[in-house]
């Protein structure tokens, strides 16, 4: 390494801080990643699966038409306007 002159402390300091901050960030990122992966494996080992595959709960809708009405008129009528779902 060359002689860094009178301001060596600042140069080394700048590099040290950069590496400490980015190193800590990397460490925290990796640790968090491992932690979540472990939790997921743990939950899956307990046999809990996502609803999209297992469907343990079915949200249900029961519609009761109390008063009979002219069914063909209702079937014929088309909504003039339709609100598209936003999502």
């Amino acid at each position: 390494m060359p002689d860094l002159g009178p301001h060596a402390a600042f140069i080394i300091g700048a590099y040290a801080i950069a590496f400490v901050v980015l190193g800590m960030l990397t460490l925290i990122t990796v640790v968090n990643d491992r932690k979540q992966a472990r939790m997921l494996i743990e939950l899956e080992r307990k046999g809990i699966r996502r609803r999209s595959t297992a469907k343990p709960l079915t949200p249900s809708v029961k519609t009761k038409i109390i008063k009979s009405k002219p069914a063909r008129a209702a079937a014929k009528r088309k909504p003039t306007r339709v609100r598209k779902p936003r999502t």
Binding site: P56, P59, V61, K62, K64, I66, K67, A74, T80, T87
Partner: protein, 238 residues
């Protein structure tokens, strides 16, 4: 719209006129577009990544009412908010017949939710007057709207002094201050006494007679004839 609906109205009106009620006279002069029909096709609702319901459809002709029931958290409020345009539909569509083509569904609805939308520092009259102005309604209807739930004597009092039941009545008076064809009522009878519930019940019936639509979620039995009932809830199947 087909003539059929006008015929229906003509048939219904005398039937309800034969049963006199204090509220009837108040609702009678109100002219509202009586030919709105509302239909939902296969709508679904998602909150926080969970599907509350899906595949929900209904079809309401003018003068028909829909009752929504189900346990807490089943999505009754969410459904009403979806119809009012406050929540996006996760799937499906909501259609209206009989309105101007550029009116959004939400502007046909008068939504009275859990919260009363009352400013406590305004007087009872000012609260109603604001909604009439903001919702672009005829301000001449204000005295009748105040009278609908018997709030006329309280008109000049600050709304902050009202009891819970009176606040609820003030919120419901909005239905008359700014008449709209579709009423969305979320547990409207909460905090109301028996007499007021009867007033509300009669008001809904009059609204239907005039060709309006009402969608109500309630746990209190009402005399109103609901033409459809939707029960939301989770099946217990594992």
């Amino acid at each position: 719209m087909p003539l059929r609906h006008r015929d229906n109205d003509a048939k219904r009106r005398p039937a309800s006129l034969s049963k006199p009620h204090p509220c009837l006279k108040l609702a009678e002069p109100m002219q509202m577009p009586s030919e709105i029909a509302l239909a939902a096709h296969d709508i679904a609702c998602q909150r926080g990544g969970r599907t509350l319901f899906e595949g929900l459809s209904f079809d309401l002709e003018p003068g028909e009412a829909l009752l929504i029931s189900g346990p807490n958290g089943a999505g009754k409020t969410s459904l009403l908010r979806q119809i009012a345009g406050l929540l996006p539909l996760a799937a499906g569509r909501l259609g209206v017949t009989g309105a101007d083509n550029d009116t959004p569904v939400s502007e046909l609805c008068q939504y009275v939710g859990h919260l009363n939308a009352i400013k406590t520092s305004f007087s009872v009259g000012e609260n109603l007057a604001f909604w009439a102005e903001f919702l672009d309604a005829d301000e001449n209807a204000l005295p009748q709207a105040l009278a609908a739930f018997g709030l006329t004597p309280l008109a000049d009092l600050p709304a902050g002094l009202l009891s819970a039941g009176q606040r609820r009545k003030l919120a419901l008076s909005r239905l008359f201050a700014a008449p709209r064809p579709v009423w969305l009522l979320d547990e409207p009878s909460v905090a109301l006494d028996t007499v007021s519930v009867e007033l509300l019940d009669a008001a809904i019936r009059n609204h239907l007679t005039a060709g309006g639509i009402a969608i109500v979620s309630t746990h209190v039995p009402l005399k109103t004839k609901f033409s459809q009932e939707i029960t939301l809830g989770q099946e217990r199947s594992i």
